[in-house]
């Protein structure tokens, strides 16, 4: 029992230990290699880092729940783009413009609603057809991207609302708006996964779907809720990001699904389902962003970031398996 909790503690803490190592490494290496004379662990720099992690981070939080379920969602990047277009385009509709600044919450609602609907489509298909979520969302990744293009052709959709920009750039208690959204979403989802029946069911289904069904959990609707949730979060991520930038290209959000999955896996969530945590995913998101920033800080080419992240992902997978194997051997004796 004690060794079990210890192994768990090591796993949960690993990502944070990795973050500390990154911080120390880049601080020391930055002293010798950095072109700028600012310290890496500059307070403003760290705040900016949190803000920049928000778009992928919010999606990754939802992906954690989907993956704890034993599913996967490859369509989040396209959902992100479509929600962004709805957000910006809806503010230019005549009746919305008549509303003045009251159009903003309504536009948010439209965008978030778009995300929920797209997620619900995925969830319904997974539930009703029994086709694997990987294939369903691979298909809708293409399909939703098609909808993005159909909405506004190959043109970028732009609309700047200065009230919205001010809101997005505001800082409350030192943290940016985007950071608050990231932390808020993390808190809510952490409560959902640790304190509610829905959260417990999510682990149960991921661990052993057969057993969960026998225990009377309705797996189909559960999947539906979770896909709606990740659709909502992908749209929320778009809302947070595009409130500030005000212009969306039809190709925006491509490969976001892969970044989100990378962050989730770095956080230790199992692809096979049944194991994972929201807090650890937050760690994974920050670790990746830290790596990007850190490599830039010590003057490495931005292109090496991809190389390093890819190799780290594989290394984590390898270490995780070694750790698990040790745990199993300990059980045998």
């Amino acid at each position: 029992m004690t060794s079990d909790t210890r192994a768990n503690l090591i796993k949960q803490g690993a990502i944070w230990a990795f973050i500390v190592v990154e911080l120390i490494f880049f601080s020391i290496a930055g002293e010798y290699l950095s072109v700028s004379d600012k310290a890496f662990m500059d307070f403003d720099n760290m705040l900016l880092l949190l803000k920049q992690s928000a778009p992928i981070g919010i999606i990754a939080l939802g992906m954690t729940i989907i993956m704890i379920n034993g599913n996967i969602d490859l369509s989040v990047g396209a959902t992100f783009a479509l929600a962004a277009i709805v957000l910006l385009d809806s503010m230019t509709w005549p009746f919305m413009q008549a509303l003045g600044d009251w159009a903003i919450p309504l536009a948010w609602l439209f965008a978030l609603g778009t995300g929920v609907v797209l997620g619900a489509i995925n969830g319904l298909i997974v539930w009703k057809t029994g086709v694997d979520a990987f294939i369903v969302t691979l298909g809708s990744m293409l399909g939703y991207r098609g909808l993005v293009f159909i909405y506004n052709g190959e043109q970028p959709t732009s609309h700047l609302n200065w009230t919205l920009v001010d809101f997005a750039e505001a800082q409350f208690l030192g943290l940016h708006t985007a950071t608050w959204f990231l932390l808020g979403a993390a808190l809510v989802l952490w409560l959902l996964m640790t304190k509610t029946v829905h959260g417990r069911n999510a682990y149960a289904i991921g661990n052993n779907r057969e057993a969960a069904v026998n225990a009377g959990i309705r797996v189909g609707p559960h999947f539906l809720w979770n896909f709606m949730l990740i659709g909502f979060l992908a749209a929320l991520s778009a809302v947070v990001f595009y409130s500030e930038s005000g212009s969306v290209n039809p190709n925006d959000g491509m490969l976001y699904e892969l970044w989100a999955i990378t962050a989730v896996v770095l956080g230790g969530t199992k692809l096979s389902g049944g194991y994972g945590s929201i807090v650890a995913t937050l760690g994974g998101v920050i670790a990746i962003q830290l790596l990007r920033k850190g490599l830039g800080h010590i003057g490495a080419d931005t292109e090496t970031v991809n190389l390093v992240i890819g190799l780290i992902l594989i290394a984590v997978l390898f270490l995780d398996r070694q750790l698990n194997r040790k745990g199993k051997e300990a059980l045998k004796t």
Binding site: L74, I125, W127, K128, T129, G130, V131, D132, F134, I135, V136, L138, G139, S140, M141, L142, G143, Y144, R145, G146, L147, F149, I150, G153, V213, R218, V219, G220, F223, M254, L255, L258, I261, T262, V265, L271, D301, E303, T304, V305, N306, L307, V308, I309, G310, L311, I312, L313, I314, L317, F318, R321
Partner: protein, 324 residues
């Protein structure tokens, strides 16, 4: 009796649904626009599908073996960039084998991780997608790669070239499909790939070297990717670093459309070719009836879901899923 015929028809559609759908599509598009079935149009479609197709052939092996390969897109960018760069440095005759060797090394690395270390193929190839992209950018310094003398090189034979009136990419695609189909269906190695993908544990107990078989499927995939990179490089004689970006999922879509199960153990090279052609002809047909290129995304979505749904439904004997 009526029940039986209905079942018979349903069973046929379920088993050969993809061929039926393909035929319906061809007839429909041909009626909408007769130019669709003109010889030059058909050859044009196959020619432009060849790059995707060649990659899909290799991924078919990986998928039948029960794994995934998401790294083929960035690996294709890598081989395209490398062969273009080496072309000017050492000449095409040496550049091509050198590029194949480098790409096969990448394939061997993935094969080692997935086969011998038994790491999850989705994550490994996801990591390699990112890593190889970084490698390509580091190699090229982020710049586009162009051949200096575009007129005076025989390197362009693989893309725009023709032999006996048939475009070379089609020849390569057909030849590779024939050879790989033989390997998969007629050789012991092919049987082993099915065995490993169908039930890895049983295969191991039957004395099949599971690790080596998986390793080899990734080698085959890398070989196909290198070939696709060669065609791509030769076609444009210059390239961006992101030329293969996003192709990994389109390739997977074609393989799934062909009816290979992601769980492994099923699928054939011929069906994958059909999957590739369906994607190509849909794209072309929609363009010919006057829709924008992105309409194909939505249509592909619907087709993939329907194809897999029918396949799954036929296996379990009922249309709607038993999930409560």
């Amino acid at each position: 009796m009526a029940e039986l015929t209905k079942k018979g028809i349903g069973g046929f559609i379920a088993r050969h649904g993809i061929l039926v759908a393909f035929a319906l599509f061809m007839v429909g598009f041909a009626l909408a626009n007769p130019r669709f079935i003109a010889i030059d149009n058909i050859s044009g479609v196959i020619r432009s599908s060849a790059i995707l197709g060649v990659m899909a052939l290799g991924v078919t092996f990986v998928v039948i073996g029960g794994n995934l390969d998401l790294s083929v897109g960035s690996m294709m960018s890598f081989s395209t960039i490398v062969v273009l760069d080496l072309h000017d440095k050492m000449g095409p005759a040496l550049a091509i084998p050198a590029m194949f060797a480098m790409t096969l090394c990448l394939g061997a690395f993935i094969g080692f991780l997935v086969g011998y270390l038994k790491l999850n193929s989705l994550i490994v190839t996801l990591g390699m997608l990112s890593a190889i992209h970084g490698l390509t950018l580091t190699y090229s310094g982020g710049k586009n790669m162009d051949i200096a003398d575009k007129q005076g090189t025989w390197f362009s034979i693989f893309g725009p070239g023709e032999i006996l009136g048939i475009p070379v990419p089609i020849l390569i695609f057909a030849l590779l499909a024939a050879v790989l189909s033989m390997i998969l269906s007629k050789t012991p190695f092919g049987r082993k790939v099915y065995a490993v993908g169908g039930n890895g544990t049983a295969a191991t107990f039957s004395g099949i070297p599971r690790a080596r078989v998986v390793f080899l499927t990734y080698i085959m995939s890398a070989f196909c990717v290198a070939t696709a990179g060669l065609i791509q490089a030769s076609r444009s004689l210059g390239s961006q670093n992101t030329v293969g970006q996003g192709l990994e999922l389109e390739v997977l879509a074609a393989v799934i459309l062909g009816g290979a199960s992601l769980l492994g153990g099923s699928g054939t090279v011929f069906k994958t070719v059909i999957g590739v052609l369906i994607l190509g002809f849909i794209q072309n047909g929609l363009l010919l009836i006057g829709l924008a290129f992105y309409a194909q995304y939505v249509v592909t979505w619907v087709i993939i879901i329907l194809a897999v749904w029918l396949d799954v439904a036929a296996k379990r004997g009922r249309l709607w899923s038993p999930i409560a």
